[in-house]
Symmetry: C2
Subunit: 156 residues, 2 copies
DNA sequence: GCATTTTCTTGAATGAATCAAGAATAGCCC
DNA sequence: GGGCTATTCTTGATTCATTCAAGAAAATGC
């Protein structure tokens, strides 16, 4: 397992360090987790690591294409290990939980704008907004845009 | 003009105040502008107004459905006046400028997820990422995710 | 006009994320 | 294996969009 992640790092021309292997492992084990959650997971795995190191590692991994960063409106940055398969996301308006949605048309980009305004389009990102099953039956009092509340569908 | 915006506010059961009319006007005149830009526009129009008032007004207008808030990853909140027509956006990865894209399939939601995971889907948001014409010919040195730089395609 | 409710002002606080400088370490050559 | 150099991590401060809080001001309904 660990050696797999080491190989991934090496193949991406990234130096292999304990924090990097731990962060990569954490992102694979906890899809859509935010930075703070990942810091907790990494520290539980290998002991104290500075938050700055986690930020640096996540940036390096994202730049290298080993993880993907997603950031729905009103949410902090989240990371996932599924890369390069053009899948999309459903985000709960109430608790902010994220679920994957496969592209209905396969791996190829499934969307083309009606008018690209001269932009060179590289990617079409789709975010479906709605209520997760849990929030449908047990509504959370406040909207996700209100701070000070924690999702009841916590990434484990 | 002003009376139109006043009517809009009244019809939304919002009290008519100078800051609200000015913010509504500013959003109509400067589509996709960020909060800071709007603060500048509003102050140029009606004199000193607290930034907190602008935040409050934008929240009220957004909640009332008079304006729409968009927030692409790595960007601050932006506001636009086109609401209810299900259009989407192209965002420049380099300078962050935003352009509108009409829904190719008309006003109805043009997307349905392959598996909604039990979520009640309310909206499909599409963000196309790419390079705007200006950044294609005059590349900006750094990515939008890097701070400390201002778009060369400033709103207004 | 006046009372009531909402909104705006003032000023402080929050929190994710970044910056900066020095210490530690991975990878490479001998 | 030992040392060199670039990269990475630690420590601690800082930034900045946004929010919180409490009181002053203004808008609507009677």
């Amino acid at each position: 397992m660990t050696s797999d992640y080491e190989s991934m790092l090496r193949e991406a021309s990234l130096r292999v360090t304990r924090p990097r292997v731990a962060v990569l492992t954490a992102v694979y084990d906890h899809p859509h987790a935010d930075t703070d959650t990942l810091i907790g997971v990494v520290r539980a795995a290998i002991g104290e690591v500075s938050h700055q190191a986690i930020y640096d590692v996540l940036r390096a991994l994202t730049t290298a294409g080993l993880v993907r960063r997603i950031q729905p409106a009103n949410s902090v940055a989240r990371y996932e290990s599924r890369v390069g398969d053009n899948h999309h996301h459903i985000v709960c308006r109430s608790c902010g939980v994220v679920a994957d949605v496969d592209c209905t048309v396969g791996d190829a980009p499934c969307l083309t704008p009606s008018d690209d305004h001269g932009f060179g389009i590289e990617e079409a990102e789709v975010i479906y907004w709605g209520l997760c099953p849990s929030c449908t039956t047990t509504p959370v009092s406040e909207d996700i845009s209100d701070p000070g509340k924690e999702s009841h569908v916590r990434q484990s």
